[in-house]
Symmetry: none
Subunit: 532 residues, 2 copies
Amino acid sequence: MKRLELLDTTLRDGAQAEGISFSVHDKLVIVETLDDLGIPLIEAGNPGSNPKDLAFFEAVAAQPLKQARIAAFGATCRPKLAPADDANLQSLLQAGTGVVVIFGKSWSLHVTEVLRTTLAENLRIIRDTVAWLKGRGRRVIFDAEHFFDGWKSSPDYALQAVAAAAEAGADVVCLCETNGGCFPGEVACGTAAVVERLAGRAVVGIHTHNDAGLGIANTLAAVEAGATHVQGTLAGFGERCGNANLAGLIGNLQLKLGYTCIPGPRLPMLTSAVRRVAEVANIVLADDMPFVGRKAFAHKAGMHMDGVKKCSVSFEHVPPESVGNARRFLMSEVAGRSAVVDRIRELAPDIDKHDPIVERVVKRLKELENEGYQFEGADGSFELLIRKALGTYQPFFRLERFRILGERPSANPEAGSVAMVKIVVGEAEEVTAEEGNGPVNALDRGLRKALDRFYPRLAEARLTDYKVRVLDGAAAAAAKVRVLIESTDGQRVWSTVGVSTDIIEASWIALVDAIEYKLFHDREEAPAAAAP
Amino acid sequence: MKRLELLDTTLRDGAQAEGISFSVHDKLVIVETLDDLGIPLIEAGNPGSNPKDLAFFEAVAAQPLKQARIAAFGATCRPKLAPADDANLQSLLQAGTGVVVIFGKSWSLHVTEVLRTTLAENLRIIRDTVAWLKGRGRRVIFDAEHFFDGWKSSPDYALQAVAAAAEAGADVVCLCETNGGCFPGEVACGTAAVVERLAGRAVVGIHTHNDAGLGIANTLAAVEAGATHVQGTLAGFGERCGNANLAGLIGNLQLKLGYTCIPGPRLPMLTSAVRRVAEVANIVLADDMPFVGRKAFAHKAGMHMDGVKKCSVSFEHVPPESVGNARRFLMSEVAGRSAVVDRIRELAPDIDKHDPIVERVVKRLKELENEGYQFEGADGSFELLIRKALGTYQPFFRLERFRILGERPSANPEAGSVAMVKIVVGEAEEVTAEEGNGPVNALDRGLRKALDRFYPRLAEARLTDYKVRVLDGAAAAAAKVRVLIESTDGQRVWSTVGVSTDIIEASWIALVDAIEYKLFHDREEAPAAAAP
């Protein structure tokens, strides 16, 4: 089995994509997802260019990881400066990671026209930076920016630049196809030249972009030419047209070409991991994404369905379940049954996998997915779904009615909306109203106010995140929306989901789940204090 | 100059994608778009499997085309049937096109397991069908379905199948990578083997899919091995993960590899043609689509912007204007002053970089960013911000008041919200109301209804995406939200942004910008038709 070392840069190169902006909490969730999937290296930010990244590096150091190592990213020292005098490099050390990724110039044009220094000074910069970081005990990955463009226009200099990094002690020399415009043949030749030049002194890596639609092909060409370290982003997020997506690379390399990228048993987690990263980034994944997209194994033509039923390889290049995806004939969704069994056992450890409850949960899951629900980012709602199937669910309250009124201009913008709520708990009714700075806020406050006298511990919980996703872009404001809510009571964090054509109703569904989740867990912790 | 013959199959293979269903009118608009772009062959439907396609073929015969030829698509005759006795082949002739595309089996597994006939009978089927169509004066393109999977498992038989088509007179033998799972090396070898075997008796073509993320790479590999006919879909629509997209192929082949695919002067129409096809198909194009995506030349990292300004090739693989796309410096406080100057000059070319307007825009940008605005994904709103600073802005209408009422349970969930809107245009007032399936939908519809009699061209524009981001996670439902709206009128795509603690107000701000953007551009296009 041939081994490859993967590095995911969703948190760094991915964050350079338009529309992506990660909070520290978002970053921690992505680290956990990548760690669970078995990605060994996670490039997590540039502490020099983004001071708030330091807060993240402190937080991640306190988070126990199963196997992944975190890498900080930064530039080589500036011209005419010693590494020790460069504040960005000092920040890089401060991040406290065992692995650092350092990018430097290898295209002569960039040295003279962009960095505006001499070719010799650039080699000095590379050598000094790598040696200085090695001297401080770091594992050093040198990213040779624009290597292939450099190699095409001035091959000797490009090779000198990567050789300088290797001679100064870089553990990995990663060849970057920064502009995304090269062809597989060019990438193969350039990589082979470096493999020969470095003669085993450093691991050779590859980092490609998708501007010509060749991100995956170029990475595969480099691996064939001897690269054994592969950089990309799990879902393909990145500058412009994105980075080579690791999901597609893992699918091709591990299922078809005999490489080990992640532990084999984790391969079926691939689809859910990609979707979770996209969910956190609040980016709509392309349905036609290879291997993991919703349409990747969707068959519409009758002849294709017929062929697949007779013999699945007739219209499928890999088995969909091998990457945790599912075959779909038109609208029917197929859920991962064994994943469902595992989740049910967290609540009811003795459930057998043939228990009819499993079937009930799978069926309900399919129904809800067809309506636009997605439970990868909503574990709280999924737990409630299981409780309902187990028969242990009982509602804590019932909504009689709500009304919301919003008006602009408003005398007080902090109270531009008002919600009237009527609920029933056991035999008791409660009617109340509350203002808010928007309709969801008014509704959230009104509902909590109505429930307060029945469930005083609800005051501990609060919403920490609120995301809205339009499900059918083409219909936009008239389309279905999915609302994801994240809540915490200081100890636990849970997420819930609601889907509706009405953003208020979708929010209501997710709010109710969020409150019920809290009430269930409170009751199980302290039965004596349980509600009626 | 090396020539390639392109065939677009958006109307046939593209229509096999989930969520796509073309009316006859849609098909005619797409034919016109492809013809204008200079695509020489348009595969337009399967009259055998879809009888209503015949209505389209009649309509298209009456539509004068600049240069394109229309092809009808169908299967080889059924086992044990003569072509003349096969109703599907009769329908194919009835379509009345000078060119026909016929697909047949070349993978032995498909012959025995799916078609369930003998290998010899399949060769008879291919020969008879091709010869019969040639005898009726058609130009015949033979699509060898699953050619590469067939060639990998049983190379002799795959070659016999394509040779049978060529010997029977096929003008083009097109090798189909139907399942999308092969690698460029395999495609290159298989294509080379066919080129050698046919020895010039027929043109060799290539048709690939994107299931492994290699659709473009595989097509390029086949072209390098001697294929001179290329099939794909302009925007990449197709079964599962889609077909090789012609937009990316044209970009690579024509701009970088010296092939002529479409007339050179039409290359700058590429981006708008792809967007028009997507618009008709009612599919949201991926922003990161190579060459033609909205993000394809978007720069966010300050260092990249700096590099592009010093020397555009430093971070761009081709000039964006060469394919009719545009460079975008994403506006953020880190973008820096010179990016702002460039953007202002697009509206007012003579502005000096020391003009006080620049300072005013930068100051306003910072203020708004402090309030939570983000303009990197909202170029429409940023343009309006500049217009306000330039003094060329004047409002098209004024909001007097809106009220929104929402209620659950609701007798009709599709009309659970109602918005009352009062606006003023010049001296005229308009009061109206509209229902919606949610508050934003009701408000959007109400506002457009109120404006309709003043600005009828607004009917061309619609929302294509709606995103909500909570800015301060810790405060969640009480926090500020940022709403991003994407709109299109079929030609242009623009994004606008609004920020408020009230999701309704944030949506309102973004909606108003979206409408004003459209009105400004309409007025500048056709001053005579301008509004009051």
